[in-house]
């Protein structure tokens, strides 16, 4: 791989990667069982540079911001490289947000350019606030020929001949603005520098190297910190290849493993559990004799890999299982949301190790990762090289808030010095997560101090972001909490959002009120919905400026009521 210490910015590193491995395949795009195309590094450059030139000709200046909203595909990475090449900033947005949320973040980030997939642009154009947008140039991918684009250009046509000017950046300059949450309340735009990314990449590839021929299956959205690193920057600075699937249907994901002989993949718990279910179902179909043999091979593999994985041995002992994953899989990565240790153990015993890790957008991609020396199903691993972690104010069991100091920690929150000052204190990023180190230097997580949840699909949901959907409920007041914020549990499971209601005097909780709550809830995407409600019988404590004192309210509710009896499911 390239020596990243010699580079000041991602544009330089990617440019050299292209020159280093011009004929290596860097991208494969597949849609269901059809391969849509492959690009070599040289092809990649030939697509990106005319785009970069066209952007420069359209007055896209160094330090300007360009948002990308697309499902995973080659055009995402081509666009990002073109933006870096011109010395500009990438604002990767989640394609699963609503059109209203997209417009809100586009405004917050002050993006000048938007590069967006047609079906998303179509929804954005229909938003009532669409005409307020301040975008100067919009490029739409895959737009039908006669589609109305409201002045946007077709991405495929937006290119100019002639060499674009390469604009280098310094390490401390902004590379990306990545939103860790916050479309409803206070958008949290993490300003990540070129140094953040270069250092993160160096740390990750030290433990999990890529090289030409390695194939990474990119399933997590590329706007997410993990996939941006492990499904773009990491493979590219090593001459490796990224495989994009245009669909996430399980049968096509399974096919992709075998068709492309995948080396690495990152998965959220939901997908891993789906794979586990599928494998167990297949095992259940085996005859008793074959099942006996399989179980013995699994037990033998488990015993022989107790100290560390032994990939070649596992592939020999459990050949058919490994062939179902393409026969070249070295590791799967997961993190962010709670992962059942039993699922991690299941895969490890099959010789398909899942490296569970921990990180947050504010600190790059990953802070800790399991290195399988030996495998641990009950931790989120050891700190990566260059990452300092400590536990603040540990209790009698050694559990306290995790804080991190590292060159991968963001510069600040965009336009929010107050929140930045609360989050980065004396050079340490306070994470809001609770954990402790065991005797082997592994971090174990024990819940969250902060009022938020991470879904099984890896999404951060902050209650303040979704509360507004309950405005207008005929109650005295209401607010949303992460249930574990009110009733702290020393684990990360059972995450859900709870609506706390204060009824009017003499108001009864009726079926009609419940229906209204359900109707409000349904306006949210399924992964953002509250899971239950509870009734609180006192007015909410408020500050002089009438803001709810959430920590005071949560403590009062938590101390007065038992979660099991107080929370009714929605």
């Amino acid at each position: 791989m390239l020596n990243l210490d010699q580079y000041n910015c991602l544009g330089e590193a990617l440019r050299d990667a292209i020159e280093c491995w011009p004929t290596e395949t860097c991208l494969i795009e597949s849609d269901r069982n059809k391969e849509k195309g492959r690009l070599t590094y040289s092809d990649f450059k030939d697509l990106a540079l005319p785009l970069a030139r066209a952007l420069q000709d359209a007055d896209f200046k160094p330090f300007d911001r360009a948002a990308i909203i697309m499902t995973n595909q080659s055009k995402w990475l081509v666009s990002a490289y073109a933006i870096f090449y011109t010395g500009c900033v990438v604002v990767p947005l989640d394609y699963k947000l609503t059109a209203a949320e997209h417009l809100q973040l586009l405004a917050h980030s002050q993006a000048k350019v938007l590069i967006v997939e047609y079906y998303l642009w179509r929804a954005i154009m229909q938003e009532p606030t669409f005409s307020n947008h301040k975008l100067k140039t919009v490029l739409v991918t895959d737009a039908p020929l006669k589609a109305e684009l409201a002045g946007a250009f077709r991405w495929e046509d937006f290119r100019r001949r002639g060499d674009p000017a390469f604009v280098p950046r310094k390490r401390e300059d902004t590379a990306c603005i990545v939103y860790s949450s916050g479309t409803g309340g206070r958008p949290k735009g993490c300003v990540l520098t070129h140094e953040n990314y270069l250092e993160q990449c160096k740390a990750l590839t030290a433990w999990y190297p890529f090289w030409p021929g390695v194939r990474y299956l990119s399933i997590l959205p590329t706007n997410h910190a993990i996939d941006f690193m492990v499904g773009f920057i990491g493979p590219f600075v090593c001459g490796a290849c990224v495989v994009h699937l245009r669909t996430l249907r399980p049968e096509f994901v399974r096919d992709a493993f075998t068709r492309y002989k995948i080396t690495y993949v990152s998965l959220v718990p939901m997908v891993l559990k789906n794979l586990e279910r599928g494998l167990k179902a297949k095992f259940d179909e085996l005859s008793p004799a074959k099942r006996f043999v399989l179980n013995r091979m699994i037990a033998l593999n488990k015993a022989l890999t107790r100290e560390h994985p032994r990939v070649k041995l596992s592939r020999r002992l459990l050949g058919q299982v490994h062939q179902a994953f393409g026969g070249e899989l070295l590791a799967m990565f997961t993190g962010g949301a709670f992962m059942e240790p039993s699922t991690l153990q299941f895969f490890y015993d099959l010789g398909l190790p899942v490296a569970n890790g921990y990180g947050l957008t504010e600190a790059g991609t990953a802070l800790t990762l399991n290195d399988f020396k030996p495998f641990r199903a009950d931790t989120v691993g050891r700190p990566l090289p260059g990452v300092e972690l400590r536990v603040l104010n540990p209790d009698s069991e050694g559990v306290g808030e995790v804080a991190v100091r590292s060159k991968t920690v963001m510069s600040h929150y965009l336009d929010d010095p107050e929140l930045t000052a609360e989050t980065i204190v004396d050079g340490w990023l306070v994470t809001g997560d609770l954990g402790k180190f065991d005797g082997h230097g592994h971090l174990q997580l024990f819940g969250r101090k902060k009022n938020m949840i991470v879904t099984e699909g890896g999404k951060n949901i902050y209650p303040e972001d979704i509360e507004t959907v309950f405005d207008g409920l005929p109650v005295k007041e209401c607010c949303v909490f992460a249930a574990n914020y009110i009733w702290p549990e020393k684990s990360l499971g059972r995450e859900m959002l709870v609506l706390v209601l204060r009824l009017e005097n003499n108001q009864e909780f009726t079926g009609s009120l419940k229906e209204q709550i359900v109707a409000c809830n349904r306006r949210l995407p399924d992964f953002k919905r509250v899971g239950g409600y509870c009734i609180w019988n006192q007015d909410f404590p408020r500050t002089a400026s009438m803001k709810i004192k959430r920590n005071v309210l949560a403590e009062a509710v938590g101390q007065s009521m038992d979660r099991a009896t107080a929370v009714a499911e929605l």
Partner: protein
Amino acid sequence: MTTSDQTLDAILNLAATHFKVPREKLTPDGDFFKTLGIDSLQALDLLTRLEHHFHVELPDYELQGVSDFRTLADRIQARL
């Protein structure tokens, strides 16, 4: 050509059969994640079944932001 109501009815029947849930438990405006007890990956599975039934290709994004059968039916109807 299939009408909207026919499309909706077909979806409800298919969902009930595939996920082994009593048909009477499913309503057009009901949250199919809850009533079928499925996650988003299993919802994609339902989309595949609907493609086969209606002989139409349905990209994953047709499920984006959708959680009730009626809206899903409208999206499919628009492609028929």
